[in-house]
Symmetry: C2
Subunit: 195 residues, 2 copies
């Protein structure tokens, strides 16, 4: 497998972490989004959406969208709960991540840490909606150590990617979310990611 990813992107790291966790072999092709490498004709032929990550599977076929890729790679593994309801809750968190978390938590961090913007440059919705997303996660961790239950799942992979670097977005202070603060190293340890 070839993974086209930018190492600054949590969406791309999700794919790396799942591949590493499952012991899959792959070539990582560093793809610099700030240099336009996800918008070249060759790249767009592989992923017309022009986004990272994208993968070329071992049979030569392409696949895009971080959460679709990790669901495909992890099929049949312990990263996807065997119980149908737990699996549905995992998917609920993964779709919520892309709609209600990433556009605020990841975007604030990208603008501040990678584009050199300041908090005053951000769309005024970004910080309040990111704060609401963190509170939603804090509440979601009230009863179980991982988001979809007692075991690590792809929901944790999807959400830890940007939550662990949320403070780089300037307007977020994780010290107000004790369950998230405990959950991040729990997920990092389970995935064997360096903190």
């Amino acid at each position: 497998m070839k993974i086209y990813g930018d190492s600054i992107s949590g969406n791309c790291l999700k794919v790396k972490w799942v591949a590493d966790s499952l012991g899959l072999s792959y070539d990582w092709i560093e793809t610099d989004i700030l240099a336009g490498q996800s918008r070249t004709p060759d790249y767009l032929a592989m992923n017309p959406a022009g986004q990272v990550p994208a993968v070329i599977l071992d049979d030569g076929r392409p696949l895009a969208q971080s959460n679709a890729i990790i669901l495909h790679l992890a099929e049949g593994s312990a990263l996807i709960p065997a119980d149908a309801y737990a699996r549905a809750k995992m998917l609920e968190w993964m779709f919520w991540e892309q709609y209600s978390h990433e556009p605020y938590i990841a975007v604030a961090r990208f603008q501040l840490a990678h584009l050199g913007k300041t908090l005053a440059d951000l769309d005024p919705k970004v910080i309040p909606r990111g704060v609401a997303a963190l509170q939603r996660m804090e509440d979601g961790l009230a009863n179980t150590p991982f988001l979809a239950g007692d075991a690590l799942s792809l929901a944790d992979v999807a959400l830890v990617a940007y939550t662990r670097v949320a403070e780089e977005g300037g307007g977020f202070d994780l010290s107000g979310y004790p369950r998230i603060k405990a959950w991040i190293p729990r997920v990092e340890k389970a995935l064997k990611i360096a903190a």
Copy 2:
């Protein structure tokens, strides 16, 4: 099953169409988002994200996020391809829908058709990104009658919901996308939705 949905919301109609297509019995509880009915204490206890749709499954447990709900309801049915790659492509379209299509196509329509706004009121990114999303779909339908291959899948359900009413968003003209124009009634017919 109880489905909490607002009939003006394509995200909610996805759940209704899949339930109808599979012959599932349910009670539809009309939930008026403009009247704040998805933000009451009772509703938030069921779905802390405060969004529609949400369902209460027959065993009493809640589930949210339109695409997670339809994936759960349709498990084991023909709406999810048996082939692993086709299934992954279906998921790619479904995550793309929530990140790159719904925030522009659905939001423009909601602002204009339901909040009484004008095109000038929209975030200037909304129309160009919606146009790019439609072109991505047009390109995606170049080789197959449905988005994930030769048969209807949840990718078509997820994307037809707002694409069929895209023109209500003011800045979109479907006549420029002949494959989408042919695909919409194809999906409506397969789902037995009135055009």
